[in-house]
Structure formats: structure tokens, C-alpha cells
Amino acid sequence: MNAPDDLRYTKEHEWVKVEGNVATIGITDHAQSQLGDIVYVEFPGQGETVTKSDSFGVVESVKAVSDCYAPVSGKVVEVNDSLTDSPETLNEDCYGEGWLLRVEMSDPAEIEDLMDQKQYIAFVAEETA
């Protein structure tokens, strides 16, 4: 399983990359492989707010429709619009071109609640055991 060491992770299999006050959010390699071929995404628009642990969007694969949960709270400053036309990017490059949102964090301390790489790998191992 691929999980870079410079990211933080949620139990719902989202990842977060923090740069200054801005968090980039995506879904993990484990999430995309479990979902299978992703065919549709739905996310909030720029300027809307997301709240930690609340559902902020939907990823639909040929198998299932899944909610995405916000790892942190804040205002959406950028949305990866290219996913609308090519949702397969989420399968192909989930940590790079397949990012979902950039959020200006309202409470950067929330990051501390998230798992680091080692914790996340252990969490997934336990969950799939």
C-alpha cells in the first residue's frame, strides 16, 4: 500500500498535506483501490466551508457511492475541477493530480488529531485483517 510519509490520514481514508495555512485534501491509495474504477465526483464549490468529520462530497465508483469526510475545518479556496471530466485521475494518481480540495484551515490544531503514515498503515492492516 502506498502512503507517503509527508501526509496525515483519517480513519475514513482521506489524506491531508499541509502547506502554511492551506490543507490539500484527497483520498488514499487504499481508498481508491477499494472503491475500484471511479466514475463520478461531487464536491463543494470555492468559497464554501467544510467542517471537520462532516461529509463534504461524494465519490462514486462502479461498485458504490461513498461519502468523503473533511479531515479539517475551513474555507474551500480551490477545487480540482479536472476530476469532473476525468474522474479516473483519482485511480491513477490519488496523491498527485487526483487531489480534491484546498482548504484554508480555521483551526490548524485539528491536524494533530490525524494519523501519521505509520499509524495509518497499521490502521489499514488492522481494518483489513
Partner: protein, 517 residues
């Protein structure tokens, strides 16, 4: 006539992936795979169109010619619509050919878990086609449709008897419509008490439509995790329960096919804080004659007549999802209500607390009639027998397959059983591959990837209408596939090889849907 894309006849001789499985009982010849013999490709009607070809010949005009432009001006289209130009025989053959590719309960085993694809007895269709029923008009005076009203009245009473409820409405046109109706009544109940409340509790093992129904009624959904045994945990419900919770929606038995043993305890917890209990009755066929949800705390329950009571699964056509309710919700039932005064049946449409009409006229009366016939044909004892046989069949399949497929929850099953692809994953084979391979053995695949709480789930519901020989045929195929997964996984991963169409690219179909040329 030359047919385009015609390649299928030669294909049948070149197949390399013929199943090697043999039936255990050679006297049975049921498998209807449809991949041998004369199978023809079928272009669309548009592709078959030949300019100038017609299916009708109109007589010469014997009235003055009419110029549409004079009457309609700019509204007249510039050129004729691009409709296919064909002879009657082209059209008749096209649709008849396509009709042979349908798979239905009249063709064979259809073990879709959660869907209850039982055989629909023909007597119900025969009765529904009787002119006295088929030719009634919804605007006829009530005095002339007393028989129809009596059927509605009695069906309501029987559904109440079966579910242990106080009153019922027959008008919702589907299970999901029944859920919506039930949740609207629950909202009306709370609104009448001063606060519609804001939340609905839904276990993660409930049916997928439940959250949609709650959200449509402006409730926030709070998911309750099931316990490690796959059951609803009263503690988890107690923690989530407060005075803003309008109701809990419970599917019982749940989507694992397991009876929610704590239903009453959960209902008591919810009632104690003024909440109501919605029971998703999609799996009533596993309880009928043994458990009355109304007696263990349910306040509202929809009943999928096309599941439990053997009416056709509309395929997009008419269905029926009556809702039975407790005394608390009776004032909110939709209009019209059916009433009986002496020997006279009538309707009531002026109950001020009612949520109003939720369908036109008398719902899908033809479907209600079929359920009525089903109940009359079987009688009380027969309905109990249905439940027994449905449960026995599911447990038989489970017992035969449990050594070959992973069983994530081992509690006793009722009417369906859920396996996972965990063991087959070791050979790189997934649930989808197993489902596709089943088609090579002439079996319709079961429900896959649902319920969501089981990874790679394979959900099998044989129903009571299948005999042991047919269940054995299905189990033999599943066991052969399990062995193929170990020995020749590529065979399974490239399945199906026998059906008319091979592995379809589902992702491309969803991503690049071409809806219009």
C-alpha cells in the same frame, strides 16, 4: 436482408473457455444459458433504417391538401424527424429478438440477495386480467366498484394482521415510496407535538434507500455502527438517542440476512425519548407468520408486495409498497382511506391530520390485486410455509458453500446469506469475476458488493420457490468456481465466455456515457 456486425455464429465454435463442470444429477436439464445455437447480433433500429422503407401504406388523400405552415407558421419543423424507416417485419423481429435476451424468473434461478426474486404464480396474473378488474375505471361510482374496494379493505386488514399493525395504506407505488410516506407521517406526528425534530438514526446494515427517505423529509442522518456480530447494539443506539431524534429506521432482518435480536430493546430506548421506530419491511418474507414487527415496537413499516407477496418486480413498471402503522401514526395515513359500513365499502378523504394524497386514484390496483390473490391462494398456513422454505433454502446454500467461501458473519441466517471474496483474493480473483463466471454456468449472478459492511460481498437469496435440485446446480457451480479460482484463476478473471456479451467495461460506460449521437 443482410445483417450487420454478424459474428456470433462462428464464435460459438471457437470458444476455449467452455465450463468443465458436470451436473451432479444428470436427469435435470434446466440450465438456460442462451449462448449456444442460433444467437444473432442485433443492430439498433436506427442502424437498420433504409430510406423510404415503410411499415404502413396509407390510402390516397380524399380531402383537400393542408399546408401546416399556414396554420402553424414558424412552429413547423424544417425537416422531417430522423426516425428509423422500416417494414413491420423488421420491427417485429427486432423486438422479438431482444425479448429473447431477457432473463427472468420464468427462465431460471435468480438469486439476487435483498431483491427477493421469487417465482410469481400465474394465477395472480390470470385474476388481474379478468375483465371485471382489468376494465374498471378510476372515475366509476363507488357503488359500481364495491368488489375492488372490498379487495383493498381486506388486503389492508391482512397486511395489518401479518405485521401486527393497527392500520395501513395501500397507495405508495414502491418500497421507497412507502418509506417516504412512512417518514412523512413520522414528521407529521412530531410536528403535531410541537417539534418535527431534526435527526434520524440509521444502522450501517440498513437498506440504502433509508437515508435517502430521511433526507427527503429534511432529517439529518446519524449512522449507527453495527456490533462485531453484525447486529444493532442497544448501547450504540442509547448513545445516539436524544430528543432531537425523530425515528430510527431498522431493516429487520438486516442486510446480512440476520435477525435483529435487540429490536425490542432498541425500540424501547427510542420510544423512551419520544422517538418512533420505522421498520424497513423489505425482508418481511423472512418474518411472515413468525414475528409481527408491530408487536415488538415498530410504528411504521412498508411492505414490498413484489418481494414478499409474489407480485411482479415491475422492471420500472408499476409496483406497490403499502405502509402499515401503529395506533400513534394512524391519524396521519394518506387519503383516501377505505372504510366499511355494514356491507357497503366507501372512501374517506377528510381527515385533517392526514399527510394528504401520495398517489393518484387507488394506487397500482392491479398489483394490490395480485398480492390479494397470492395471500388467498396460500392462506395463513401457506404463508408460514413460505417463510420456512425461504429460510431453509438460504441456510442450505450457506451450508454447502461455507467451506469454499469466506463467511464474514456466522450468525444464523434467515432468508439470505452473505459471503465475501476474501479467500479468492489470495489468487487475485474478486467478487465481480466470480459473478461473471457464474453466467458461464447458466446462473444469474447474485447481488454483489452489497451490503457495504462486507468487503467484496456476495449476497445470495434463493427464495422459497426453488427446488433442491436447482439449488444444488447453483452450489455445484459456485464450488467449481472456487476450485477454478485456485487452479485456473485467469479463466475466472476473463469470464464470462459463454454469454452473448463478454466482460463489459462498466467504468467506461459510466464515465463516457453516450446518451445522444
Amino acid at each position: 436482408m443482410e445483417r450487420r456486425n454478424s459474428k456470433s455464429l462462428s464464435d460459438t465454435n471457437q470458444r476455449t473457455n467452455e465450463p468443465t463442470y458436470q451436473r451432479t444429477d444428470s436427469s435435470y436439464q434446466r440450465t438456460a444459458c442462451g449462448a449456444t445455437g442460433l444467437v444473432l447480433e442485433e443492430p439498433t433500429l436506427f442502424e437498420q433504417s433504409v430510406p423510404g422503407r415503410r411499415g404502413i401504406s396509407l390510402p390516397a388523400i380524399d380531402v383537400p391538401a393542408f399546408n401546416p405552415c399556414e396554420a402553424f407558421g414558424d412552429l413547423v419543423r424544417d425537416k422531417a424527424p430522423e426516425l428509423p424507416e422500416l417494414a413491420e417485419s423488421d420491427v417485429a423481429r427486432h423486438f422479438t429478438r431482444l425479448s429473447t435476451r431477457n432473463f427472468s424468473k420464468d427462465l431460471g434461478f435468480y438469486p439476487l440477495g435483498s431483491c427477493t426474486m421469487k417465482y410469481n404464480p400465474k394465477i395472480a396474473n390470470k385474476v388481474a386480467a379478468m375483465p371485471g378488474f382489468a376494465d374498471t375505471h378510476p372515475f366509476q361510482p363507488l357503488s359500481s366498484v364495491q368488489g375492488n374496494l372490498r379487495i383493498c379493505y381486506e388486503l389492508e386488514r391482512w397486511l395489518c394482521e401479518i405485521t401486527g399493525m393497527n392500520a395501513a395504506t395501500l397507495w405508495p407505488a414502491a418500497g421507497s415510496h412507502g418509506e417516504l410516506t412512512g417518514m412523512l407521517m413520522i414528521r407529521a406526528y412530531h410536528t403535531a407535538r410541537g417539534n418535527p425534530r431534526s435527526k434520524v438514526l440509521i444502522p450501517d446494515s440498513a437498506h440504502g434507500t433509508n437515508p435517502a427517505s430521511a433526507v427527503t423529509c429534511h432529517y439529518d442522518v446519524v449512522t449507527v455502527q453495527s456490533g462485531p456480530d453484525g447486529l444493532l447494539d442497544p448501547k450504540a443506539v442509547a448513545e445516539a438517542m436524544d430528543k432531537e431524534v425523530a425515528a430510527i429506521m431498522i431493516t429487520n432482518p438486516n442486510t446480512l440476512g440476520v435477525y435483529e435480536e435487540n429490536f425490542k430493546a432498541v425500540a424501547d430506548i427510542v420510544h423512551a425519548k419520544g422517538g418512533l421506530v420505522y421498520c424497513d419491511g423489505a425482508n418481511l418474507n423472512a418474518l411472515m407468520g413468525f414475528v409481527k414487527p408491530g408487536e415488538i415496537g415498530a410504528d411504521a413499516m412498508h411492505i414490498n408486495l413484489h418481494k414478499t407477496f409474489g407480485t411482479p418486480h415491475g422492471g420500472g413498471g408499476p409496483g406497490a409498497g403499502p405502509v402499515a402503522v401503529s395506533r400513534a401514526l394512524e391519524p396521519y395515513l394518506p387519503m383516501p382511506r377505505i372504510a366499511k359500513n355494514g356491507d357497503n365499502y366507501t372512501t374517506i378523504s377528510d381527515k385533517p391530520e392526514s399527510i394528504g394524497r401520495i398517489n393518484t386514484f387507488f394506487g397500482n390496483f392491479g398489483v394490490l390485486l395480485r398480492a390479494y390473490v397470492y395471500i388467498r391462494e396460500l392462506g395463513a398456513e401457506g404463508l408460514v410455509g413460505v417463510t420456512k422454505m425461504a429460510t431453509l433454502n438460504a441456510n442450505y446454500v450457506k451450508a454447502r458453500l461455507k467451506d469454499a467461501y469466506d463467511l464474514p458473519y456466522s450468525r444464523p441466517s434467515l432468508h439470505e446469506c452473505v459471503f465475501s471474496d476474501k479467500r479468492q483474493n489470495a489468487y487475485g480473483v474478486k467478487t465481480l469475476d466470480i459473478a461473471k463466471r457464474l453466467m458461464d454456468y447458466g446462473c444469474h449472478p447474485p447481488t454483489i458488493y452489497f451490503p457495504l459492511i462486507v468487503h467484496g460481498s456476495i449476497m445470495i437469496e434463493p427464495t422459497e420457490t426453488e427446488c433442491k435440485e436447482l439449488l444444488d446446480e447453483f452450489c455445484d457451480a459456485m464450488l467449481t468456481i472456487a476450485s477454478e479460482c485456485e487452479k485456473t484463476p485467469e479463466l475466472v478473471k476473463n469470464a464470462p465466455s459463454r454469454p452473448f456479451r463478454r466482460r463489459l467495461d462498466e467504468a467506461k460506460a459510466a464515465r463516457d456515457a453516450v446518451l445522444k449521437e
